[in-house]
Amino acid sequence: MIKNILNLGDAALYCDFGKEVNRETNTQVIRYFKSIQKENIVSINNLSPSYNKLIISFDLKKTNFKDLKKLIENLNITNEDDLENKKIEIPVCCDENFALDIVRLEKKLNLKREKIYENFFDKEFFCYMTGFIAGMPFLGDLSENMRAKRLETPRIKVPKGSVALTEQFANIYTFESPGGWNVIGNSPLRIFDSSKEESPNLINPGDIVFFKEISKIQYESYSE
């Protein structure tokens, strides 16, 4: 449930679902997101679901904070367990040329790379949110012994397709972008496709993601 709605500037609602980042809280956020989306409220410009927040930005020419807040508070939110969780498998090649930060992670986590990859490929991930750059999924949760901080100096260019870790999360760089996450491999799969306007993202909030290791040869011969 929404704990509190504040204004973020003069044209957005800031809905707080509580301090904790976990699947339960995030599932609530996604429920609200999907229910509001279904209502097709014309004054709403954008919905931004994240771990424990939902930001609703609106057209100040069509409504205002007070009126939209009331409308959102009185919405009927579907509480049944009707969220579709798509299961998606992502191929990852961990060749040394791709695993830019594996040596750093071995040191930081005090684990051998074989163990790091074993932990990673055994895990089932949950997609909390997508964004920052188009289509980038924020996937959790890594077990306690796999959590490392961001690079001290972020890279100016992280290669497209990089699979990377930080704290309890994993992500996939859908474009070449600046970034500070620990890169452990690269996926040949297209995660964001702007030609598919209906659903440009392969992975969406609420989806379940598994990673599968592939060889360099499989990576190079990979066709979508």
Binding site: L6, N7, L8, G9, D10, A11, A12, Y14, V21, F33, I44, N45, N46, L47, S48, P49, S50, Y51, N52, K53, L54, I55, S57, L60, K61, N64, F65, M129, T130, G131, F132, I133, A134, G135, M136, F138, T174, F175, S177, F192, S194, E197, P200, N201, P205
Partner: protein, 332 residues
């Protein structure tokens, strides 16, 4: 039989849409893109709103050439493009605070902003610079042949979407005009862009992450717009803003106008092509009424933030919007 008509129709159709009227880009300019009002309902995918940075000037440029006001226009920054026109007489208008020249066969004229003019075959438009501002708009009286994605042609060079294959202008490329407007009456508006240094803000959701001294620094001191400023964000330099709680927050959604303060204490204002998620504390949000003015502050400009409450911000936006509507209705 149907096929026959279809073929005939296609043939006919091709004939009409083949572009006889076009601009050749001789010099692309620093950051020239196609923009319109932007695209909605895609933040959750990771795609920002985009669209014209200075909406008022964008709308006025279209009105001056008799287009629908939300038609695509060329947006340029600092140094604009040099364009050569080929085709039948066409109407264009430039808005902003722009130094530009029109080169006709035997004569070069200094251009006037907020005044539409006709170009003939072979004429050139040379947009030299934006005067102590950042963005300007060139509207073309007609329909530009462009690719739309999610009902907008706005080019987003980060996500590589929108018109021009998601890229900024390049030398030697062509802008095809698929249809010219019927009337090419020259129109004029008496308007001067005012520049403001005081930008009004509403307190952000993490305002209390900052010390009393930090809050004072933010609201009383002067900042300078840095060179690291583009369509995604505006980085400011000046006194450091002191954080006493945490220099990171759990990543959450962003909107344009949000002022984030990372660990180094230098504020960053989110602009139209911003990343959709961020993890730095939000000290404030620029009010909607001041956004068009904010984006026009060029690197080196001074900026001061002034706090207002929500109801004042709402009223100021009503006034600003009314003023924009008045300006639009003055162009007939």
């Amino acid at each position: 039989m149907i096929l026959y008509f279809l073929k005939k129709y296609q043939k006919f159709n091709t004939k009409v849409t083949v572009s006889k009227n076009y601009f050749k880009v001789i010099r692309a300019g620093i950051n020239t893109t196609f923009q319109d009002e932007g695209r909605k309902n895609l933040y959750h995918v990771g795609i920002p709103f985009s669209g014209a940075m200075d909406k008022r000037n964008y709308l006025l440029s279209n009105k001056l050439v008799g287009n629908k006001i939300n038609s695509p226009a060329l947006e340029f920054a600092y140094q604009g493009p040099l364009l050569k026109y080929f085709g039948n007489k066409i109407n264009i208008a430039i808005t902003g605070d722009i130094n530009f020249k029109i080169k006709k066969k035997d004569i070069t004229i200094d251009g006037n902003c907020y005044q539409s003019l006709n170009l003939d075959n072979g004429d050139e438009v040379d947009i030299l610079s934006t005067n102590k501002s950042v963005y300007g708009y060139l509207a073309i009286g007609g329909q530009i042949d462009l690719k739309y994605q999610w009902s907008s042609c706005s080019t987003n060079t980060k996500a590589i979407i929108g018109a021009n294959d998601g890229k900024k202008f390049e030398n030697e490329q062509v802008i095809n005009i698929s249809k010219l407007n019927n009337h090419s009456v020259e129109k004029k508006l008496n308007y001067i862009n005012t520049k403001i240094e005081n930008i009004r803000i509403i307190k952000g959701t993490n305002f209390d992450y900052f010390s009393d001294k930090g809050k004072k620094t933010f609201l009383k001191k002067e900042f300078i717009v840095s060179k690291l400023t583009d369509r995604m964000g505006m980085r400011l330099e000046g006194p450091k803003i002191e954080n006493i709680i945490d220099t990171n927050i759990k990543s959450e959604g962003l909107i344009k106008g949000i002022i984030q303060v990372p660990a180094d204490g230098n504020p960053i204002v989110m602009l139209s092509d911003h990343g959709t998620i961020g993890g730095y504390p939000k000290i404030g949000v620029v009010i909607s009424a001041d956004y068009d003015k904010l984006v026009q502050l060029s690197p080196g400009s001074k900026i001061k933030f002034k706090q207002v409450d929500l109801s004042s911000a709402e009223n100021l936006f009503k006034l600003y919007d009314l003023e924009t509507q008045n300006l639009i209705s003055q162009i007939e």
